[in-house]
Symmetry: C2
Subunit: 208 residues, 2 copies
């Protein structure tokens, strides 16, 4: 006689299989969007990767754009959660930025395709979905600027162009997916090196 | 009676018109590749932008890939010329990197679409054209690393991970096309601010 656990597993199976299939579709989409771009990817391409006809994908997914939204929306969501954690923490600007850099680079080095899609393809969304992601991206950018400004205001950082500093910070964080990844460097090490460049500079102290 | 000048102009006209038309095709391609990606752009799209049927483009252009090569190859070429100039100049690492940053950012702020295509679409090339552009991009990256290393060796820069420093430098240089451009900042100002961040750091001197 099957135990209660077995019965539960059996009744969960169809939904488990569906979830697993959806995950495979999303993983294939991330890979293909990263490789060929959103506009260069068809539902047929994604179907081929998961071994089904494009038509079968529409049972699970409304459209290619909906798939992009699922991918990009979830990343924006996690980014926001991480940001709230960092902003709420009781540390100074240097530590907050280091935390943000570590979280971002650890994630993007583990998920280079997703990072690429999030940076390069989010603007293919439309309407409310585009607006939602745009707002979340802007909030992230604003928070970086706010943290840097707090650092300038409390004298941790020198007086500088805060908006440009925020651009430099964000671009260094996105460096990893444009460079040939060094397999020996992990996300935390990379984050610490990158923020150290920006915080302490390259010039030897005797040359300042 | 037409002057000699008029006669020359008349005989030059077909070739002038051809050059002008080719320029329009390339400008349209840059715009469209930047907007929709190389894979998301058809020769028909480019034809529409210049007001001709796709078929008429093939009189002037071998293929969409050839068009990408013309665009990307020329940028790689100019980049290499600028690099040689900078490397040959008799100044230290700081000034060389500042020169590179100024040249790059002045150009990319004036040509944001071309900069985007050069960074994001060059890898759509194939065979010998891909290899050629790849080699030129690598030479640029190597030169940045070489200049930074010289700076470390002569004591201008502190002892640091030169490869990561080069990645940070290159990513900051490419910041401008991922951020919302500030119309009040020109390429030279931006370059000087960005390299100043990397050279001198953000942390106020009394906090070091």
């Amino acid at each position: 006689m099957p135990s209660k656990l077995d019965q539960e597993s059996a009744s969960d199976r169809p939904s488990d299989a569906k979830t697993a299939f959806l995950t495979r579709i999303r993983e294939a989409a991330v890979r293909q969007f990263a490789e060929s771009g959103y506009n260069g990817t068809s539902m047929r391409d994604i179907g081929s990767l998961v071994g089904v006809h494009a038509g079968s994908l529409y049972v699970h997914i409304k459209s290619k754009e909906d798939l992009l939204y699922q991918i990009v929306g979830e990343i924006a969501e996690s980014g926001e959660a991480a940001l709230q954690l960092v902003e709420a923490s009781d540390v100074g600007a240097i530590d907050k930025l280091r935390m943000l850099a570590r979280i971002h680079l650890r994630w993007s080095m583990a998920n280079p395709d997703a990072a690429k899609v999030f940076e390069r393809e989010w603007m293919r969304l439309n309407g409310a979905q585009l607006a939602e992601v745009q707002v979340k991206r802007q909030r992230w950018a604003d928070a970086v600027e706010r943290i840097i400004k707090a650092g300038v205001d409390d004298g941790t950082f020198r007086d500088m162009d805060v908006a440009l500093a925020a651009v430099a910070f964000r671009s260094v964080l996105n460096a990893n997916y444009t460079c040939d990844g060094d397999p020996d460097v992990d996300g935390v090490t990379l984050a610490d090196e990158f923020v150290d460049f920006l915080f302490n500079g390259w010039v030897a102290s005797e040359h300042r």
